[in-house]
Every structure is written in structure tokens, then in C-alpha cells.
Amino acid sequence: MLTTAEFPQLDNSESKAQNPFIRRIKHENTLLIMTPATELRTRLEQALEHRIPRAFTPIQRPLPERILTGITSVDALTGGIPVGCLTEICGPSSSGRSSILHQILAEFMRRDETCALVDASDAFDPQSAASAGVELERLLWVRCKQSDDRVIGPSGEVKRHSAFGTRHSAKKSQSNSNAAKTPLFSTSPDDPISRSPDCLSQALKATDLLLQAGGFGVVVLDLGDIPIAAARRIPLTTWFRFRRAVENTSTAFIVIEQHPHAKSCATLVMDLTAQQASWSEASDQNGTVIGAHAGNPAPLFRVTAEGIAIPFEQSATSSFSMPQRWSTPHARLLNTVHVHLQVTRSRNLGHPQKFLPQSEPSSVCENRVNTKDTKCTKDIPFLM
């Protein structure tokens, strides 16, 4: 590029017309106009190479590393949880969000990672997490304070607000003395977060602290029971900040919620819907319920529609050796919950078919590379 300092000082118009330097500029300008855009871009990039390398070429972001969830169907669709990115797992209550989350946590811990869970509604169940394989001693659990804004039911609507609960939680936060005097984050009445439920505000601040601290394999923000209206008030800048905090790190950031709110900040969005629950009655074609003890696959009893248990031939030591009357619900068990998974957004979806087992049809998921919004569906059974 030419700068004004490189232009020679001209005395009059006559000398300007005959100046070889000006003639060369005119010639080059003519060439530039005639050149195609791609060639022009190449030439400009070459000219600017020493100052701005590859000035007009978009930066090729490498595909993020992905950690498998341990659920074959989910891995087949998504390729795993992207590291250094934001992943949203959405769905109403009873749609399998927590089950997938526990599997992901267990999978990360299998890789010797430390995990953090910010629980906005204090709903995490350590017992079921431990049974899913989560090592609780390597899980940092941040239990945000109670709020009566918690969602009841699968519809995602707030059924009732308790004025006492809100005031009580506000009082509690005030009684937390100096935390109120010297807040870590500045909040104003106009701030959407400060107008949100107390637990949501705490959850966002806690997540911010954890992401900034770094070092965790996965940080989970559980907003699963936060009302949609409240979660929608989280400003997009917050999601951008979260995405920026995990970018180029080895931390995966997962948000559990009812509807996706992070928009373009999310790399992967999984939408879950509960399909049906299969109870033990449904497994019998003849209308009888067959029960079995855990660890012993042999049927121990059956319950007919009339509610009579007719034991099978068992040894004398069996507790079901004598005919016994059963009411049907006693013997019924929740076997499986079928969940419908839809990937509504995935950046740079890789080659998911390689994760599919041989028995599953590969046509379930479309293989699209560099797609912005991909819709792939899959049913996942969750056993009780």
C-alpha cells in the first residue's frame, strides 16, 4: 500500500501529468478494476502479508474435541459433548435430562476429570447419580438457595408464587451480612438478572466464578426447574460471556433447561421429549404381571388381572412358595422410560455414523458437515 509520504511533491499540473510515478498508479488502478474479486483479494492479502497475515480469510476454527456420553444413541446423533463449547440439553420434566447428565458426568469422571454442578433449584439426587457411576467425591455441587419459583409439572409454567418464600429468601440473602454489603457482582434494579429469582441470580454468578476459575472437566448449570419466563430474561451477553470463558479451554459447559436460550452461543442443542413409560405389566402379552428379584432373572411370581399371584414352581426356601394374594399395583414396576432426542443445533457435526453400532440403521441421523442447524432424532430407553 502506498502512503501519502511516498508521493513526490508536485509543483504544477503539467509536471503531474508526466510524472512516471503517477502513471504507474493509474496503470495499477486500471488493473485492479479489471481483476476478479478473488484475485484482488489474493493480491491485497499478499500486499498486507507482513502486517496482517491472511487479512480477508476467515479463521478456520478447528473442530472441537468431543467426549462421548456413554449412551450409544446420543453419541450416534451428536458425536459426543464438545469440549470448550456450550451445550444445551433441553426438555420438560421427566424427559430424561438428568439421566443424560448423570451419564455425561460419569463419563467425564471415567476420564479422571473433576466436575462442577451449579444446581439452581437444589434438585440433584446424589443417590441416583452414584448409581449411574458418578464419583461424588470429585463432584463440586453448588446448591443455590430455595426459591418458590420452581416449576411444577411438565408444562414449564410457574403454578404459584409465594410472597413469603421470596421475602424469606431475600431476608436470608440480607442476613448473609457482608455479602450484601460488598457484592461480588454489581447488580442494579434494571439488571435482568437481579430481577430474576434469587436462585437464578446465584446460579449465574456461581457459574461465572467456576468458568473463570477453570480446571474443571465439565461445568453444568442446571436450570431445569427454572421457569421459562425467568430463564428467558437471562441476557444474551451472559451466554456470550460463558461461551467466551470456556472457549479454548478443556472445559465443557452444559446447561440443563426447558427451552434453549443461548441461541448462537450454543454449539450443540439437544431437545428431549418423554415418549412413554413402560411398566412391568406391559411386558406380558397375556395380561399378567411377571415379577423378578434383582439379580435373579427367573420369574418368581405372576399377577393376573384379577390380582391373584400364582407362584411358579419354586424351591421350598422361596418366599413365594405359598399362594398369596396380591393387589396389582404392588407388583407393578416402572421398567423403562422412552425419550425422544432431537438435535436442533450442532456446529460442525462430524461423522456421527461412526459411533453407530452395527445393528442400528445409519439413516437415523443425517451426516451433515458444517451445518448450522441440524435436526436428527432418536429414541433412547432409560431403564429403572
Binding site: D112, E135, N178
Partner: protein
């Protein structure tokens, strides 16, 4: 053999200035005694230049313009002495606390002199002068101005340190020559002996050393012979080493009580820096930090009320690994005191650290990088300040059949010792707990729930399993007895809502405990 001596001139003043370095550029005088007979026991160089001398009364000292009068603080002197000993132990295991004796009124004499055996250190640090310079620099880092002397025997080093300012190195055989100009008052003399020597015209070491030994011994006895050996710098004795200090404590007594957190943190910062320098000099880290605040009443209260409100506020911080960073400690203390503030003005502070050797763990090459302990502790402290002390940590399941039985314990992630052998192909349904459980109204038909009202919203029961009786803890106050059900609920929308409900048999009320998710 070489011995080094560290001597702190005006120890009482230096101990005060160590705790309040902003006074270093001012005229500072230390008073001791009982009012109204307060006298000057120490003064800094500026005060001496202004004409203040040891032994003046408080009234005389106050005549000097701009003078800062401070009461002697035994606890701060003890902290300074401990710091001095720590510094000496960083160089040698054989350290003598030379002034370790009691005065007549059972008050410790200022421990201003430390002698250490530096034999063999030349291979580590270099010449005796370099060692003396290192010693001086290390002690200066602790906020004390000292004289350091190196000589062939402990007493010669001690007299040189007390007599010459700065760094003095006396080569072997040059003791008489170098110590000759020192006044005989530096020797540990009785009043009678000093008067005798004064009458003889013996005023310095050189004159005393030049006296004939036999004649001196005939006139002054063994004491005279001992004094002459000291003056010649050839007295040999064994060091009496002290044990290294394992308790790192700093104490500050304030003249005016502090009522706000920020100035309190300013003072704590100084104390933390002193402790961290001491820990660093001993290559140790702190695993526990205890802060104690003596709380007094407010100024506008009567004396009785102030005495009644006098109390001790103590907080303890525990760290998973030994740490040395004073900034991290300060931030953690700030967060802790912000969460649990003292209930009144603070008059006295003490800070102690439990020391331990730092851990050096080599992480595996193929393992993920762990969390930095200092940063993790700060993050946890901030989280505790945000949501509460008992709401941050790792859950630990309790060995009981009680529902939702767990407790929170501090988050100290350790390397995994057991691997998950769970079948990855098998997915388990998780629960989401309602804490506390939601009260519900249930309509039953032949004992089986058919309709559930949760927070006023009706839900139709489309599938049911149960009940299962669950009871226990009848021998405690936390007894539970209930019938549990798994229900599939549906309301307006078609999607099922799977919940776990129970009927408390003691109150005959229904509750929604969790949802399957």
C-alpha cells in the same frame, strides 16, 4: 569455625515498626512502666537525633515536636523474636537465642541478639561476607533493621554486631585489632566492675586486652580474666541451640479499635506478609490459618458496657494443601470475615498458621490438568459467600435407608482410585428431588391414587405402582414411616410426568418427593 550474630538495635522500636512500617520515617519513642511513671525505654534514630534519650519521662519526650509515643508491646516483641529465629533457622540448625533470660520483674528482656553457627555454609552461599549480606537481606525482608557480624567465636561476633552498625566480618586472628575500639560497657559487667575499670582508665577493649593477664587475675579474679578474653576476642564457648519454632504466630495490639472491615484487612495483610515470609524462609506452607480478634465495646459506651461486650471472635481456614501465597490468604480471610464479621470494634488481632512441608505432586502425563489449589480455594470461598457455607461441597451418601440421606463435605478432589466398571450401555433413570417435598392432595379409589393435586393443579393418574412401605429410625427423633408410590401423571398436555409420591403415615399427608427425569 565461623559464627554469625544478628543484633537488632532498639529492638522495642523495631518490633513496633515491623507491625507499623508507616511510622519508620517518624520520630518514634517507646514507653514502658506504669502511669504516671512512664519512661522512655527505646527510641529510633530520628528520636535520638531530636534529643530524646532512654530514661526520659513521658513529659520530657512529649516536648519534642512530632514525636509518636507508643507503649511497649511484649507480644509484638515476641513475634519479632520468633521471626528473627525463623530467619536464623533458615540458614543454620544451630541457633542460639542469646537473650533468653528473665529480668527481675519477670518481663522478658528484648531478644535482640541471635547467634548462629555458619560453619560449612561457605560451600552453599560463599564467603562469610556474602553470608552476612544474605542474613541481613533476609531479616530486612521481615521488616527489621539489623547489624550482622561474623567472627571466629560467638562472643566476638556478638560484640562486633552490638558495636558496629551494618555488616562486619572479622577474620581469624584480627579480633583484638578490630574489637579494640569498642567501649568496655559492651561487656557484660557489673556496676562495681565498670567503676573499677573506669577508675583505672580502661575505657575500651584494646586497653583491657593490653593488661597483663596474671596481674589482672590477681586483682579482679576469674571475672577479670574472663573479661580480658572477651576483649581479646578469644573466648571460646559452646552454643546453646534452641529448637526451631513450629508455631507461626503474629500478634498486633491496636491503640485505637478498628470498626470497619477494610482497615482490618489492611492490618491483617501486614501480618499475613510477615507470616508468609517466615514460612517461606523455612520452606514451609500453611495448612490452617487461625485468626483471632479481640472485640471491645464502642467508644461511646461506658467502661462497664465495654467490659461486658469484650469477647473473642475466632475463625479458622483450612486448606487441602500447604500454601504460601499471602494474597490468596488475604482474599480468603476477607471472604471469611465478610461472611462472619466480628460483632464490634477490634482491639487486638492474632494470626497463627499451622505449618507443613509443601506437597510436590507430579501429575500424570496423560491425566487432565488438575485444579490449582489456591485458585480452587478462592473459588470455593467465593461460592460459600454467595450461597452459604453448607451449600458448597461434595455430597456424601449416608449409610441409612432414610430418604434423601446425604451430607455435604468439603470439596477436596483426589485422584480416582477406583474405576467405574458400570456397563456403559445401560442407562439409569435419574431423579430430581423436591427439597422440601411438595405437599399434594390425592384422590384415591380402593386405596390407589387416581387424581393428584399439586399446588392446586389437577393431574390425572394414568399409571401407578406401589405402595411400598418404608420406615425406620423409630429409635430416634428422625423416625419416618410412609407408603411410597410411583405415578405417571398427565394434565392438559399429553406428555407424561413421572413422579415419586409418598403418604406420611404419621401425619396422613401426601407429598411429591421427586420426579423421574
Amino acid at each position: 569455625m565461623f559464627f554469625a550474630c544478628i543484633y537488632v538495635p532498639d529492638f522495642s522500636v523495631e518490633a513496633l515498626l515491623r507491625a507499623a512500617p508507616e511510622l519508620r520515617e517518624q520520630v518514634v519513642v517507646v514507653l514502658d512502666g506504669t502511669a504516671p511513671m512512664l519512661t522512655v525505654v527505646a527510641a529510633n534514630a530520628k528520636a535520638r537525633a531530636a534529643g530524646i534519650e532512654v530514661g526520659m519521662t513521658k513529659l520530657q519526650a512529649e516536648a519534642c515536636p512530632g514525636v509518636r509515643l507508643r507503649r511497649r508491646s511484649i507480644v509484638e516483641e515476641a513475634s519479632a523474636r520468633d521471626a528473627l529465629l525463623d530467619c536464623a533457622h533458615a540458614f543454620s540448625p544451630r541457633v542460639e537465642d542469646t537473650n533468653r533470660q528473665l529480668s527481675n520483674d519477670d518481663k522478658p528482656i528484648p531478644a535482640d541478639t541471635i547467634i548462629l553457627d555458619i560453619d560449612g555454609l561457605d560451600r552453599l552461599l560463599g564467603t562469610p561476607r556474602i553470608i552476612a549480606r544474605e542474613l541481613s537481606a533476609r531479616v530486612s525482608k521481615m521488616g527489621l533493621n539489623v547489624n550482622v557480624a561474623v567472627a571466629g567465636n560467638p562472643d566476638a561476633a556478638m560484640h562486633a554486631a552490638r558495636g558496629f552498625s551494618g555488616i562486619t566480618v572479622i577474620p581469624p586472628g584480627k579480633e583484638v585489632e578490630r574489637l579494640g575500639s569498642l567501649p568496655v560497657a559492651l561487656l557484660d559487667l557489673s556496676e562495681e566492675m565498670l567503676e573499677t575499670l573506669e577508675r583505672w582508665g580502661i575505657r575500651d577493649f584494646r586497653s583491657l586486652a593490653a593488661l597483663p593477664t596474671i596481674a589482672l587475675s590477681q586483682r579482679l579474679g576469674q571475672e577479670g580474666s574472663r573479661l580480658q578474653k572477651l576483649a581479646r576476642g578469644c573466648a571460646q564457648r559452646a552454643l546453646v541451640p534452641v529448637e526451631p519454632i513450629t508455631k507461626f504466630e503474629e500478634v498486633i495490639e491496636l491503640e485505637d479499635a478498628v470498626e470497619l472491615l477494610d482497615p482490618l484487612m489492611f492490618i491483617l495483610n501486614r501480618m499475613l506478609e510477615c507470616i508468609c515470609v517466615r514460612l517461606e524462609s523455612r520452606a514451609l506452607g500453611a495448612t490452617e490459618l487461625r485468626v483471632g480478634l479481640e472485640i471491645t465495646g464502642y467508644e461511646d459506651q461506658s467502661t462497664e458496657e465495654q467490659e461486658a461486650s469484650r469477647s473473642i471472635h475466632q475463625r479458622t481456614l483450612q486448606f487441602p494443601v500447604p500454601m504460601q501465597d499471602s494474597r490468596t490468604f488475604l482474599k480468603l480471610l476477607q471472604l471469611e470475615l465478610a461472611a462472619h464479621p466480628p460483632q464490634g470494634p477490634v482491639k487486638k488481632l492474632w494470626l497463627s498458621a499451622e505449618a507443613a512441608p509443601p506437597c510436590f505432586a507430579q501429575p500424570g502425563l496423560f491425566l487432565p490438568r488438575g485444579l490449582a489449589p489456591e485458585r480452587l480455594e478462592l473459588t470455593l470461598a467465593r461460592l460459600r459467600g454467595l450461597v452459604g457455607d453448607d451449600r458448597v461441597g461434595s455430597p456424601e451418601l449416608l449409610d441409612t435407608h432414610a430418604p434423601d440421606a446425604f451430607r455435604m463435605r468439603p470439596f477436596h478432589p483426589q485422584a480416582s482410585v477406583r474405576k467405574n466398571d458400570k456397563d456403559p450401555q445401560e442407562q439409569k433413570t435419574a431423579l430430581r428431588i423436591f427439597r422440601p417435598p411438595l405437599e399434594a392432595k390425592v384422590q384415591s379409589k380402593q386405596g390407589v391414587p387416581v387424581r393428584v393435586f399439586v399446588k392446586g393443579q389437577p393431574h390425572q393418574v394414568t399409571a401407578v405402582a406401589g405402595p411400598w412401605r418404608n420406615n425406620g429410625g423409630w429409635w430416634t427423633k428422625q423416625a419416618w414411616t410412609r407408603d411410597e408410590w410411583d405415578l405417571e401423571l398427565r394434565s392438559e398436555e399429553l406428555r407424561p410426568w413421572l413422579v415419586h409420591v409418598y403418604r406420611d403415615l404419621s401425619s396422613a399427608k401426601w407429598y411429591v418427593e421427586s420426579t423421574l427425569d
